[in-house]
């Protein structure tokens, strides 16, 4: 069952165009940075927007399989976000540990 009524087709096309523009705006932030944390936040938003895009495309094309793709993509994107956040946390902790050690060494002298 594809979208056949004229205004549903129009709404679907509108939603797809607007979502694509949103993805490009979020990608602009992904490129601009300026910090690693900004890029992770932008990547998280991009993956949510891609889930929305897949859902809208499943209405537009009448292919229900895209809904399953959206669920699977949401799962993988969540794992990716968690992994990136933990990586950032861990590298920050390591950096502060070495800074503390350097502090202590300079205090001992």
């Amino acid at each position: 069952m594809a979208a056949d009524t004229a205004f549903v087709v129009f709404a679907g096309r509108f939603a797809l165009v607007v979502l694509l523009m949103s993805i490009f705006l979020a990608l602009a932030r992904l490129i601009k940075g300026p910090d690693a944390a900004d890029r992770i936040v932008a990547l998280d938003l991009v993956s949510v927007l891609i889930v929305a895009f897949l859902a809208a495309y499943s209405i537009f094309s009448g292919e229900t399989a895209f809904l399953d793709v959206a669920i699977g993509y949401a799962l993988i994107a969540f794992l990716g976000t968690v992994a990136l956040a933990r990586f950032l946390m861990r590298s920050a902790m390591r950096r502060s540990e070495t800074a503390n050690l350097a502090d202590k060494a300079s205090n001992d002298e």
């Binding site: 549903v8 709404a11 936040v41 976000t81």
Partner: protein
């Protein structure tokens, strides 16, 4: 009837997603930008998934759409919490007009350069 609701929810959801992306581009610092990404983005995607449920009007599709929405609602706060903690700990610069930072002296071990 269902198609009117579908079209309305599609337009509304895509506009909310657009607001989220606009906020991601225009807001001043990381923590403020997370506000746009996690709330408006989840709302937009959720509205479009509800539109899918209304469009097909089928039990299996509705359940799948609801599962996707539940998953988004469960994971968005977890991911936001992890990213926010990691971002603050890694020493992001806050917006220059920020005047309350309750974590200021407690959570920055050994980071005096930023």
């Amino acid at each position: 009837m269902n198609e009117i609701v579908t079209a309305l929810l599609l337009v509304l959801g895509s506009l909310f997603s657009f607001v989220a992306a606009l906020g991601m581009l225009r807001l001043p610092d990381t923590v403020i930008r997370m506000h746009a990404a996690t709330k408006a983005g989840t709302l937009g995607a959720g509205l479009i998934l509800i539109a899918v449920a209304f469009f097909y009007a089928d039990l299996g599709i509705t359940l799948r759409a609801l599962a996707a929405i539940t998953f988004l609602l469960l994971t968005a706060p977890v991911a936001a919490h992890l990213i926010g903690r990691a971002a603050y700990y890694s020493g992001i610069r806050l917006w220059k007009k920020t005047w309350i930072d309750q974590l200021k002296d407690r959570y920055h071990p050994g980071q005096t350069d930023r």
